[in-house]
């Protein structure tokens, strides 16, 4: 019970007694004490009143002191909370560095069981393999609010080294500086902004175990070059990229002649490349929808070391639509045009291997939904039709032929950053080719 209240009650009782004594009826006056006795009583009671007053003051002091201590304790708790939060978010020098440095990554493990449907040509190319296709780590660091670094280090096929199937690759290592709120400059080793998969290739972001062939053979994903350029936006939802970079140096002879994928020197002691320019416009102002158009020009796609000069242009356009209902649609078209040799002594004609124009396209409808019941995550089903030009790999008759492929399958995302994949593929080709692969693929992929 409140101390003030108790004291107040006692005080009240004494005052009531005094009042009663004063109001005693005349008939009882005979029993009333003498004035001396009364004086004595009054003095005693006065003493009690003063003692109680003193106690009341003392209690009031205590209450004030308690209030002060509560306030001080609250301040101490606040200070302790702030100190704990600061220690947890990088107040020290070391923590501050860590706070500005980020680590991430992705990886994918594949199982391919594919039959070569064209055994009679070029031998049996059946495939039955398990492969840790990619293991990638990101490292980023922010020097200050306007200047940052980002890198992507990859191990392909698990085992790298001499005579081993894999390799260690540095796919990104660039510096980026903000120029304004809407424009940034970037320089270094950078993934080119062409297509859907090349810029965004984390395995949980696309359907199918393997990347589609159009964005493998026509757009040689993953495709990075050394360069510098600008990225930004010209209006809300209208983004641009403009980059000057090292170009391809595609071979002009052998089984890979004019194959764009074989022209990537990967910025590894890359001599004899000519300069290339890539630009892209991307529309994203409607949520769920991306429409992109990219173009590239290279003055000499065979590189500067040989006697030939083959100008090349690449055009790419795509749509990527993920409707809120779960329906999705991806479609892409890409095309290379290799011009005639414009060197002083022309001697090379891409048309000889059917490579003056190489193109490909695909369309991929899909439907993704949350799995009802206790199974966590989302399930997505898709169908993809691909059509692309590729070397036929037939000894003595090397040329590009038109391939096509159906892929049907599903992704299960138990978590938005983890995907388990299954698909069935069926390939075909319009001309004589070495291998046509039919079969199934299984995969797991993640990013963090």
């Amino acid at each position: 019970m409140d101390g003030n209240y108790i004291i107040f009650k006692q005080f009240n009782r004494y005052v009531t007694n005094i009042m009663l004594m004063i109001m005693v009826p005349v008939s009882t006056m005979a029993e009333v004490p003498s004035s001396e006795e009364m004086w004595k009583i009054i003095q005693q009671q006065q003493k009690v009143i003063e003692e109680l007053k003193a106690k009341l003051e003392q209690t009031e002091h205590k209450v004030v002191a308690t209030e002060t201590r509560v306030e001080e304790t609250a301040k101490e708790v606040e200070a302790a909370a702030e100190a704990m939060e600061q220690s947890g978010t990088g107040a020290s020098t070391a923590a501050s560095w860590a706070d500005k440095t980020t680590v991430g990554g992705y990886g994918e493990l594949h199982y391919n069981s594919l039959n070569d449907d064209n055994n009679l040509t070029g031998g049996n190319d059946d495939l039955d393999q398990v492969d840790l296709h990619r293991f990638v780590l990101f490292f980023g660091h922010e020097f200050n609010e306007s200047l940052r670094f980002f890198s992507e280090l990859e191990v392909e096929h698990a085992l790298a080294g001499e005579s081993q199937p894999g390799e260690v690759e540095l796919e990104q290592a660039w510096l980026e500086m903000d120029l304004t709120n809407h424009h940034r400059a970037r320089a270094g080793l950078e993934i080119l902004p062409i297509g859907i998969i090349n810029p965004t290739h984390e395995p949980n972001t696309f359907y199918g175990v393997e990347r589609n062939k159009v964005e493998t053979e026509i757009i040689p994903t993953t495709w990075w070059e050394a360069g510098f350029g600008l990225i930004g936006e010209i209006a809300p939802g209208w983004n641009y990229d403009l980059i000057a970079h090292s170009g391809l140096a595609i071979p002009t002879t052998g089984s890979s002649a004019f194959r764009p994928r074989s022209g990537r020197l990967k910025v590894a002691n890359a001599n004899d490349q000519d300069i290339a320019f890539t630009g892209r416009i991307r529309y994203t102002a409607t949520p769920g929808l991306e429409i992109g158009v990219a173009g590239q020009y290279q003055r000499d796609v065979t590189g500067a070391a040989d006697l030939f000069a083959i100008p090349a242009t690449l055009f790419e356009g795509h749509i990527d639509w993920k409707h809120v209902s779960g329906f999705g649609l991806r479609a892409l078209y890409a095309r290379w045009d290799f011009d005639d040799d414009n060197s002083p002594v022309p001697g090379l004609d891409p048309e000889n291997v059917n490579a003056d124009t190489l193109d490909g396209w695909y369309v991929e409808p899909a439907y993704r939904f949350e799995i009802p019941g206790r199974v966590p995550g989302d399930l997505g089903v898709f169908a993809r039709y691909e059509n692309w030009d590729e070397r036929n790999q037939i000894t003595g008759a090397h040329r590009f032929e038109e391939f096509s492929r159906w892929v049907l399958g599903m992704n299960w995302w138990p978590h938005q950053n983890v995907a388990l994949k299954f698909d069935f593929q069926n390939e075909d080709a319009d001309g004589p080719v070495d291998a046509i692969f039919d079969g199934v693929n299984l995969g797991i992929g993640y990013q963090f």
């Binding site: 609010e145 304004t180 972001t205 939802g237 004899d272 949520p287 929808l289 809120v324």
Partner: protein
């Protein structure tokens, strides 16, 4: 051999225009948290309150963000059934600072205040953030409406969506605390 002369010429062209037009380097603060609070309470913001992260709240935060917030309490502003929150979540690499107003259990405003990621900046535009308007919670911590993503900005979209769910949940906890 890499054609250095051509490279230099183009680099000059590429870099000159934006640098000339740029008045200063930017740090991508679209609105300060202070200005946001001032604006959403029409220039008369209430004193801030603090929501202590109790065991229950901590678990709820973990269910949504999949990690702890790393703070012992959260500051918020509350008046007439509305509460305003300044929350941060990492998309791919860097935190996205977001201002969110919850009114009577439904989202009134989602606004990106500071964006630090290297891509996915489209999430700051109303064409994306307006999708959250009037969203509430179902099944404890899920939004009662679907949000369309942005291609190439999936991680930023996920981060902002998580913050919207979190603000709705914290609004309920703050309301319970006051009751």
């Amino acid at each position: 051999m890499f054609n250095i002369i051509i490279l230099s010429r183009f680099s000059l062209i590429i870099f000159l225009l934006p640098i000339i037009s740029a008045s200063a380097f930017a740090n991508e603060i679209y609105q300060t948290p202070e200005d946001f609070i001032e604006e959403v309470f029409a220039g008369h913001p209430p004193d801030s309150n603090k929501l202590w992260i109790t065991k229950d709240i901590k678990q709820s935060i973990r269910n949504i963000l999949e990690h702890d917030l790393g703070v012992l309490r959260l500051r918020y502003w509350s008046k007439d059934g509305r509460s305003a929150w300044i929350l941060e979540e990492i998309g791919k690499e860097r935190p996205i600072t977001t201002g969110i107003v919850v009114n009577q259990g439904h989202i009134e405003i989602v606004r990106i205040l500071i964006f630090r990621e290297t891509r996915g900046w489209e999430v700051r535009y109303p064409f994306f953030t307006d999708q959250f308007n009037d969203a509430g919670l179902v099944n404890e911590d899920k939004l009662d409406k679907s949000i369309d993503g942005i291609s190439g900005a999936t991680l930023s979209v996920n981060a902002v969506t998580k913050l919207a769910r979190l603000a709705l949940l914290l609004h309920e906890y703050a309301k319970k605390g006051k009751d």
